[in-house]
């Protein structure tokens, strides 16, 4: 008898273990309830892309959709709930996966039948997602009319995601330290030479030890290196748009410029990570991308800070481009989801793309310049310190979702220079070799040639 109990217990444990690993697949409809009222008495919203709330989705039958994302969950759940208020038969369940896991779990889930119907997209993962993304069921001309930069995402006459905002780098500065050094708005530097002087003025030292760094770029290497080479007319890729161009004079000049600032004593490789020390009030200026504004608001709400546009080599000349830019992507739709789920997801997409409040909130939180036309003159957008530091948006280059090898090897190159005593020329040569090898297997083709002022390097 005892043995039978043991065997039954073993079997039950195995079944439980296996069922815990399963993806469910039951008919749980969450809190979705049938809807039989098509006319909600609401206005059709949007400009060229429109969303009509006065029609039933999924014929009013209850349906559940999962929406996978890596952050911004409260805001996303709010928008899902707002949609459900209008369409009570649709329960959109927000599922948060940490960024580190997101990009392995999501592509694998999308290959099966139980993947999320809706998911957030980051363009760096384009290659791993695109095969399982459904195209937007929206006229491309309508998208072009409402959103900027759509053409960069057209594949065979279809788009699977677009940008809701553009992000770039700028200089974040501590306004208290700025004032304490006797600096005013008139002292905001335009050129790198002026910037170097200001960094020296903002530095505080006791003997040989820096207690307040004027400028700190530790850990920010991959954020600035390739973008600032654009200022000197240097593309990231050669004319064939596939061969990396790393070992060049422009990159060397960028490296030397930043090393000179540390050589002045305005910062130190041993002063700690730039973003951390800025938040902790130990560094006066750092270069970072717009999302850092959101980090400061969340983690260091008491810090007084602002931003200004990244300096340029020469105030009298507009550079080839001010910097690199990158888009924050709109949601994707799973092409392997059921036809009903996809149809609802397409309707939700229109709701999402025409929702100015949501777009504004996301752009302000992430520090991105909205691509949605109706937000161009929005007072809150115009007043945002991060977005004010954007130069002429037409003068930024998006090279496309280039392989991660660029960023990881740029970091390695800078660490070799700063901490391992490798000469910049040799470090650039190493980086060129490593990046070239790493991207060999990639099918990536640069989009630099889409830049209106694109010039082929000699």
């Amino acid at each position: 008898m005892r043995i039978h109990k043991a065997m039954v217990a073993t079997g039950a444990a195995m079944v439980l273990a296996l069922s815990a690993c399963s993806g469910g697949g039951g008919s749980d409809m969450g809190d979705a309830v049938a809807d039989d009222t098509a006319d909600k008495g609401l206005e059709v919203v949007g400009e060229a892309v429109t969303w009509d709330p006065n029609q039933l989705v999924n014929e009013g039958e209850p349906i559940v959709l999962e929406w996978w994302l890596w952050g911004f969950d409260a805001e996303s759940q709010a928008i899902a709930d707002a949609y459900q208020e209008i369409h009570p038969n649709v329960d959109i369940q927000v599922v948060v996966q940490p960024w580190e896991d997101f990009w392995t779990k999501l592509p694998l889930e999308l290959q099966g039948e139980n993947g999320p119907a809706i998911f957030n997209v980051h363009n760096s993962q384009h290659d791993n997602l695109i095969a399982n993304m459904a195209p937007y069921d929206i006229e491309i001309d309508d998208l072009r009319a409402d959103y900027a930069n759509v053409d960069a995402h057209v594949i065979d006459g279809e788009v699977h995601y677009i940008d809701f905002g553009l992000m770039t780098g700028s200089i974040f500065y501590n306004t208290d330290m700025w004032a304490a050094a006797g600096l005013t708005d008139a002292d905001i530097p335009v050129t790198w030479d002026e910037f170097r002087d200001v960094a020296a003025q903002l530095t505080v030292a006791e003997g040989d030890s820096i207690t307040q760094a004027g400028f700190n770029f530790n850990g920010q290497f991959n954020a600035f290196q390739s973008g600032l080479a654009y200022q000197l007319g240097q593309n990231m890729f050669e004319a064939d748009l596939t061969t990396p161009d790393v070992d060049n004079e422009a990159n060397l000049e960028v490296i030397q410029r930043f090393l000179d600032i540390y050589a002045d004593g305005s910062g130190s490789k041993d002063f700690g990570v730039a973003t951390d020390t800025f938040g902790q009030g130990q560094t006066a200026m750092i270069y970072s991308w717009g999302h850092f504004g959101g980090t400061l608001a969340a983690d260091f709400p008491d810090l007084a800070w602002s931003t200004f546009q990244t300096p340029v080599p020469d105030a009298s000349e507009t550079p080839y481009a001010y910097d690199r830019t990158n888009g924050e992507s709109t949601i994707g739709i799973n092409k392997n989801a059921s036809a009903e789920q996809q149809a609802v997801a397409q309707d939700f997409l229109r709701y999402y793309l025409t929702n100015t409040d949501l777009m504004k909130e996301m752009c302000l939180a992430l520090g991105v310049l909205p691509t949605y036309g109706p937000l161009a003159e929005d007072p809150e957008i115009v007043a945002s310190p991060v977005l004010q530091s954007f130069g002429d948006v037409e003068s930024y280059i998006w090279p496309g979702p280039f392989p991660a090898a660029f960023e990881t090897n740029t970091t390695t190159m800078w660490e070799d220079i700063l901490y391992n005593g490798v000469a910049p020329e040799a470090a650039l040569e190493n980086a060129q070799a490593t990046i070239s090898t790493d991207v060999e297997s990639s099918s990536f083709v640069s989009l630099e040639s889409l830049y209106p002022g694109y010039q082929v390097q000699d």
Binding site: I3, T277, N420
Partner: protein, 332 residues
């Protein structure tokens, strides 16, 4: 490791020998089943274990073996046969050789550190002069049961060049994790601190199994404490030492978390270990084929080192501890 050369009487050494030379072991009587269905239960349990090993170990290893011959990215379905291209790239990849040397250095120092510190503290706890043994045993073992990620984050704060406890306490100005002269050492110190408790507990078990009469006899024969330690304790602990060395070799060749948290393989590539390289290729560059090729070389490397461990020990007459009722670990 040398066998004990102390002059001990036959009656005393008998306790250390498994059986007199030339003796024949009588056949073990066939044990009767304790209850009906015991055989079925055994089969079920063993079957489940075998199934898990096959599904979760052998099948993935087989898939990785095939994958190492392909340009492979399971996230987007790429699976193009490339023959031995990944292996050819591997052996001409400077980063692989740097990582291999780093792994060897890391593994060697960590193993020696763990063994030496573990043995020293175990012997100190074993001493009759030591009080509060249970307390110290618990304290020494505490880091071992603490999650490595949590420990690594705490040590990262301690190593901070601006406000870290280590620089503050010792009045130093060292960028522990970003200066390539110190970064690997910093990771090693944390690793040894985290892991020595495991060796302490195992060595203590070995020490308590050393027969008192052997030590007493040695003392009567005039051996001082150092001689007893060197000539009796250390040789009798050889099986346990081998066990710790082998498990440590396997573990440290796969070390990853501490590098990821503390240095991310930097500065440059100065603390990059093979496991970190595998992770980087698979989950950053999405080159699973190349990552699988590296993993296979690591597997081979680990197997060779483990075999060498056994060979060296076998040459000195040491066998790893076996579980057998009624026998102490050190007398087998």
């Amino acid at each position: 490791m040398n066998a004990p050369s102390l002059n001990t009487s036959p009656s005393r050494t008998a306790a250390l020998s498994p059986a007199p030379a030339g003796s024949t072991t009588p056949p073990r009587p066939r044990r009767r089943l304790a209850y009906p269905g015991e055989r079925a239960l055994r089969n079920v349990v063993v079957g489940v274990v075998v199934l898990f090993i096959v599904v979760l170990l052998l099948v993935p290893i087989g898939i990785a073996a095939v994958g190492s011959l392909h340009l492979w990215n399971p996230l987007n379905g790429t699976f193009d046969f490339t023959g031995l291209a990944n292996y050819r790239r591997l052996f001409s990849d400077q980063e692989f050789w740097t990582s291999s040397v780093n792994t060897l250095v890391f593994g060697s120092v960590a193993i020696v550190g763990r063994l030496v510190l573990g043995l020293a503290l175990a012997y100190a706890l074993y001493s009759k002069m030591t009080r509060c043994k249970t307390f110290f045993r618990a304290v020494f073992y505490m880091p071992t049961v603490t999650p490595l990620v949590a420990v690594a984050y705490v040590w990262q704060l301690m190593y901070n060049p601006r406000f870290g406890a280590i620089n503050t306490f010792f009045g130093l100005d060292i960028n522990w994790l970003l200066d390539s002269r110190y970064a690997m050492g910093a990771i090693l110190v944390m690793t040894i601190w985290k892991d020595f408790g495991y060796a302490v507990i195992l060595f203590l078990a070995g020490l308590y199994a050393v027969p008192d009469d052997v030590l007493e006899a040695a003392a009567v024969d005039g051996a001082n404490a150092w001689t007893r330690f060197r000539r009796i304790i250390v040789p009798l602990l050889a099986p346990m030492t081998l066990f710790i060395a082998v498990t440590s070799t396997i573990g440290y060749l796969q070390a990853f978390v501490q590098v990821l948290v503390l240095t991310d393989g930097g500065p440059g590539t100065s603390t990059r270990l093979i496991s970190f390289m595998i992770y980087d290729e698979a989950f950053v560059n999405y080159n699973f084929g190349y990552a699988s090729a590296i993993a296979f070389v690591l597997l081979l490397f680990t197997a060779i080192l483990t075999w060498l461990n056994f060979r060296v020990s076998a040459g000195s007459g040491v066998r790893p501890p076996r579980r057998r009722a009624g026998r102490s670990a050190v007398t087998r």
